[in-house]
Amino acid sequence: MLKVALDFFGSQDDAEDVAQDAMLQLWRYCEQIDGDRNVSGLAVRVAKNCCVSHYRRKRAEQQYCSATNSTATGMAMQHQADSSDSPQELLEAEDTRRMINEVMARLKPRERELFELRRVEGLSTQQISEQTGIPKASVSAMVSAARTKVFIELKARMKQ
């Protein structure tokens, strides 16, 4: 995780901050999934995600600071900085997350598990088959059924 962040930022301080955040997030993910599994792939994904979040946050802060120091560009910059991290956007993101969780809750437990193994851990059909003992063809069929259900439900909700 530290290496992923170090490659991205090139700075030890930033990389350590991100690695800490990523560890916390990974911990939360591990509570949701079977923690005994090899989570190195998930760790890398979480670290990359944290890098991007940290990058956005840092950029917005820099923009805001410079905007307050420059009157000419201040208004435009402040508007930019506000809109990139606005409470409204955070609320929308939270709503989206809740909506996905509600849709996922409607899936059968086995479908949900397979759907999440692909979505969160990024496992291949072969790996899922090995971990769950379900034949590959069945994994594909169940993942397909789960995705189609989620897609139809989400599309309907977004139109509302």
Binding site: N49, Q80, R118, L154, K159
Partner: protein, 322 residues
């Protein structure tokens, strides 16, 4: 990827037939702005982790791409030098065959030191090597030009090692060798790029009319591009911004799907630059301004133009009316 290919990948994703790598590719494609609603749903389904990972990979790729171009450039330089060596060697061998006993020495401009002292310094030989008196050394002396070239080639192998003050992440087009801490990168290149892009897409420069008096040293330009995927103006502007080191004086970059804002300062020419792009009614308004650093640039002119554009259907119809 074309829209058709993306749709095919989405269909395969919904059928559970995509591999993790294909899903990563799909996530990268879905980073585009203005996605159809169904594609946005797929983005949600792929999840924050996949989209974040795609964004990470895209940023890293953006940083690494210029290095490849730099290698290509240096390979071209190496090829040219090899050609020079070939020509130099041929000239030398031709003359050497004629007079086996008499070594050939290129005539070297001597600032103040002796001929043998100039071997280490890269002094360019005259174009026509001439016969000279044999030196005291027994071995034939290679013409100066050939020697110099060989020394240079030794320093430019395929694995090019950047100079200490040269940042490999900088696009070569905007890179100029300098002793400054941050390599000098002329911001004016962005204006050149925009002008060429506009010319290519046959977008004419709009006319800015300000109700308030404007400092004559402020130069502004405005373009109204169609908001089309083929042009992908936001993507291109972001790519251009990636040319510049974030430590460049006055560097401010901010963008969303709706707006793009970029600022730079040219400390050599004492100029400040700003570019703003905004999506409005199916068009993208691109505004650029350049002014001396000590001049306060007001955004009133741009705001006036923006207001006008939002009330009129398009710049074209406006100019037609006139």
């Amino acid at each position: 990827m074309t829209d058709k290919e993306i749709q095919k990948l989405i269909d395969s994703y919904l059928e559970g037939g995509t591999s993790p790598e294909e899903e990563r590719q799909l996530a990268r494609e879905l980073l585009r702005p203005n996605l159809p609603e169904e594609w946005q749903v797929i983005g949600l389904m792929l999840g924050e982790l996949a989209i974040g990972e795609a964004e990470y990979d895209a940023i890293m790729a953006c940083r690494k791409a210029p290095v490849i171009r730099m290698y290509r450039r240096w390979m071209a330089v190496a090829a040219s030098l090899q050609l020079l060596i070939g020509v130099g060697a041929m000239v030398w061998m031709k003359q050497d065959n004629g007079t086996q006993s008499a070594p050939i020495v290129a005539k070297v401009e001597k600032p103040s030191t002796a001929v043998k002292d100039t071997v280490a310094t890269p002094v360019i030989a005259e174009t026509e090597p001439v016969k000279a008196k044999p030196l005291q050394t027994a071995a034939p002396v290679i013409p100066e030009k050939v020697k110099v070239v060989e020394e240079v080639v030794m320093e430019t192998p395929e694995t090019y090692d950047p100079l200490p003050d040269e940042d490999p992440n900088i696009h070569y087009a905007s890179h100029e060798l300098t002793k400054d801490t941050v390599p000098y990168q002329a911001p004016a290149r962005i204006d050149d790029f925009i002008a060429e892009l506009a010319d290519y897409h046959q977008v004419k420069q709009g006319e800015l009319k300000c109700s308030l008096p404007v400092d004559s040293s402020v130069v502004s330009a405005v373009y109204v591009f169609p908001d089309k995927k083929e042009i992908d103006l936001f993507g291109r502007l972001l790519q251009v911004a990636c040319w510049y080191d974030s430590k460049t004086p006055g560097y401010h970059l901010n963008f969303s799907q709706q707006q793009f804002f970029f600022e730079l300062k040219d400390m050599r020419r004492q100029l400040q630059y700003r570019w703003i792009a905004e999506r409005i009614n199916g068009k993208i308004l691109l505004y650029s301004t350049c002014a001396p650093i000590d001049v306060v640039v007001s955004s009133a002119c741009y705001q006036e133009y923006l207001d006008e554009l939002m009330h009129t259907k398009s710049l074209n119809s406006k100019t037609l009316d006139i």
